[in-house]
Symmetry: C2
């Protein structure tokens, strides 16, 4: 299938960029001081304070004998996904996935023609459908993400992510990833960090493609979830996806999700919105050298510019806390040489 070939080739490209960063790194370990000689692990980052803060943190916690040294097993780094690792404008990809699913499933649900939020959606009125707020949104997500088993859902996601296009750039969603963040995750892994995604997005919506897109395997993805039930279909064991929310991994839910899935506190956390505030607070909330970073979307030309008043990826309180606490705030426009692997919006 063409779409799947394209997906694979995009992913390969992303992986290769990541590997390129890694390839330059091994020399770092025997002689951390000669890092620059061995090549820049973060070539898409300008030489600004953000980049310096990242590399200084990594050098401090990885230097044997340093008072700030952190054993490899404890080098846990957590990344938000939407707006931190890939673009979230003009709408979360998972919502677009859900809207596409509504269209696919509509023939099986004649009642949707007269039931909100589906009726509005099917008339193409997304704004009207979402006027119902979070309950409407939850209804859409629950209805479109349940009623099949886990293997079937996995395939549905793979088919969609391999063919659906971003409404503005017309790129595959897996192309809408941030090149500097690919380099950053690879740089951390090359320094023996274990990288996790900790997202408000659906855990089973992300897992089918995060390894290819970011080098982060399914067992290192934490997200929101629906309930599943073990059943025997004839004699075959399946996990049926139920129309019931299990856990919302957002805001104060993120430290809860981190504790449930990882059982260790991250020493570095990366986000971009108020939904990431508590994760960053949790990472910073103990002694020792800890790192917290917010991606601030400041580049309307190459990406999008938004913060305090955005309905998607609102960054308000967390920005104030970050500035008060001296966390690293990435100014996308000035800190990033390149935005996407393909360039700019």
């Amino acid at each position: 299938m063409k779409s799947s070939d394209t997906f694979l080739s995009v992913s390969r490209r992303a992986m290769l960029s990541a590997f390129a960063a890694v390839a330059a790194l091994p020399a770092l370990f025997p002689a951390p001081a000669s890092a620059d000689l061995a090549g820049d692990p973060l070539p898409s980052w300008n030489d600004t304070a953000s980049k310096k803060a990242i590399t200084m943190f990594v050098e401090r916690v990885t230097k044997q004998g340093s008072p700030d040294f952190v054993p490899e097993a404890e080098r846990i780094a957590t990344f938000d996904n939407d707006g931190t690792l890939w673009a979230e404008q003009p709408m979360y990809s998972q919502l677009l996935f859900a809207l596409d699913r509504v269209k696919v499933l509509a023939p099986l649900h004649p009642e949707w023609a007269t039931t909100e939020p589906f009726a509005s959606l099917l008339k193409g009125d997304v704004k009207g459908a979402l006027a119902g707020g979070e309950p409407a949104l939850m209804k859409i997500v629950v209805e479109t993400h349940s009623g099949m088993d886990s293997v079937e859902f996995n395939q549905i996601v793979l088919d969609w992510i391999g063919s659906a296009r971003h409404p503005i750039t017309n790129r595959l969603y897996t192309e809408m990833v941030y090149q500097p963040m690919l380099e950053l995750t690879a740089y951390l892994r090359a320094n023996a960090f274990k990288t996790f995604i900790v997202s408000g997005g659906g855990i089973d919506f992300m897992r089918p493609w995060t390894d290819k897109a970011y080098g982060i395997p399914p067992e290192q993805v934490v997200g929101s979830s629906g309930k599943t039930r073990f059943e025997l279909r004839d004699t075959k064991p399946i996990l049926m996806r139920l129309p019931e929310i299990d856990f919302i991994n957002d805001g104060p839910g993120k430290p809860v999700g981190i504790n449930a899935h990882i059982g260790r506190r991250p020493i570095a956390a990366f986000g971009n919105s108020d939904g990431d505030l508590q994760m960053l607070e949790w990472a910073k909330g103990v002694g020792g050298v800890r790192f917290a970073l917010l991606v601030h979307h400041t580049d309307a030309e190459r990406e999008w510019a938004y913060d305090r008043n955005s309905s998607v990826g609102r960054l308000d309180k967390a920005l104030d806390v970050a500035r008060a606490e001296g966390w690293t705030v990435v100014d996308m426009k000035n800190d990033w040489k390149q935005i996407f692997p393909f360039g700019s919006k």
Copy 2:
């Protein structure tokens, strides 16, 4: 502290046994056929059918170019804990932990003197307390595992596991681990498997010590859980443990827990009771070479002998399924040369 020294030394011993098995292994990779020449990775296993089934499975899935070859990333192995990795007789260790906690907490709960199941417990009548069945048990677990934050609970578990003694052998619980299973987990890891614990026991009861005892880090432990809530205590972020069950990771819950935490299906699963049946079915429930093993407790002299009628670790239906399906059933008495690192009960 003496108790903590002892814990560390026991753990070190367990780790060393595991490492000893690993140390002999690297030669396996370049030339799998010469495994025996390089040393036996499972020295505490007799040369019976069980051992042969394990090594044949590992050789098939790790041999490059073989039709049964499984890429390293997909080599997921899941292990039950109680009765599979360590002894569960005469009572689950976590229950003994909870009973000890009841005694510690009693002064703070004068009402327990007249409230069941606590009243019976405080009179030393464990049997009477547990006559209330699962609700009584849940009440004990919930009351003793909540009301503190995650960091405090972690320390409570570490203090207990470092000093509490098995009621029959008077050994530390971390000594009551099965030497052949330590070798097996190390053997799998040496063959690029990722080993997970998937237990009905409490996830936060296991995580503080599984890395030292088994070489399995916290992020690879799946278990039953209580709810937690993110809070700021003054300005310090904490995860408060609430008196509410979140998830019971037992029986049909095990595939659900595996899917939630790992997001991949194991290619090998190891258990010992009916509570592991669905996990083993899930592992075996797709095409390709898959491995399922039950530890059958048949050695009353060196350990304990129990199966169909046991109240702890009942093995009834799963034994029938295992025999009908040709799963590997370990006969502890005949298959294991040695039971515990220190010898026998």
